[in-house]
Amino acid sequence: AQTVTQSQPEMSVQEAETVTLSCTYDTSESDYYLFWYKQPPSRQMILVIRQEAYKQQNATENRFSVNFQKAAKSFSLKISDSQLGDAAMYFCAYPGLGSQLIWGAGTKLIIKP
C-alpha cells in the first residue's frame, strides 16, 4: 500500500534558525513527484516545493530545500532562516492512483520569536 509518514506531529524552532521536517513514503513506482504543502492557520493550502523523483538534484525554493533520498524513500524539508510567517501545518504528499494525493498526517511548525 502507498503510504506517507510524517513522524513529527509538532516542531518548534527559534526565529532565524534552521529546522528540518521529516517525511517517508512507500511506493513501487520509479517516476513520480513529491510535494510539501503549507497551510497557515485559517489560510489557504499552498505548495512549498516539489521534487521529481528522477532528478538527483534536491529541489530548492529560496529558504526551502529538500533532502531527497530515493533509495531510503525519504523526503525531508529544510527551512533556513525561519521567519514568523513560516508558522503553519506542513503536509508531505505523494501522488497515488488516479490523480489522487496521499497525504502525511502533517507537522505543526511553531516559530519562537
Partner: protein
C-alpha cells in the same frame, strides 16, 4: 490571476438542512477534488472528477453528493448535515500532464458550521 474560488467562505446551517458549497476554477484543469478537513488533520478526499468522470471514495458517506456541470464549476451537496460534518471543505484542481503534473491547486476553503 488563475485561481480556485470557493463560495461561501463561511456557511452556517442547521442540523439536517441541506447545504451546497461551490467551487470554480480559471485554471482549465481536468481534475477537480473535494476534501473534508478537520482541525489540524490532513485533508480527507471525498471524491474527484477527471473531466466528467466521477470518482467516489469508498468511505465517503452517501450524505455527500457532487455535481460538475462544466469544466469550471463543481458543487458539493450535503443532503442532511450532521454535527460531525462540521469541518473545512477544500476544493482543489490539477492536471495529469505538463510541468505541474499532479500538483494540486487549492481554493481558500469553506468552513461549515452545523447548529
Amino acid at each position: 490571476d488563475a485561481m480556485v474560488i470557493q463560495n461561501p467562505r463561511y456557511q452556517v446551517t442547521q442540523f439536517g438542512k441541506p447545504v451546497t458549497l461551490s467551487c470554480s476554477q480559471t485554471l482549465n484543469h481536468n481534475v477537480m477534488y473535494w476534501y473534508q478537513q478537520k482541525s489540524s488533520q490532513a485533508p480527507k478526499l471525498l471524491f474527484h472528477y477527471y473531466d466528467k468522470d466521477f470518482n467516489n471514495e469508498a468511505d465517503t458517506p452517501d450524505n455527500f453528493q457532487s455535481r460538475r456541470p462544466n469544466t469550471s464549476f463543481c458543487f458539493l451537496d450535503i443532503r442532511s448535515p450532521g454535527l460531525g460534518d462540521a469541518a473545512m471543505y477544500l476544493c482543489a484542481t490539477s492536471r495529469p500532464t505538463g510541468p505541474s503534473r499532479d500538483e494540486q491547486f487549492f481554493g481558500p476553503g469553506t468552513r461549515l458550521t452545523v447548529l
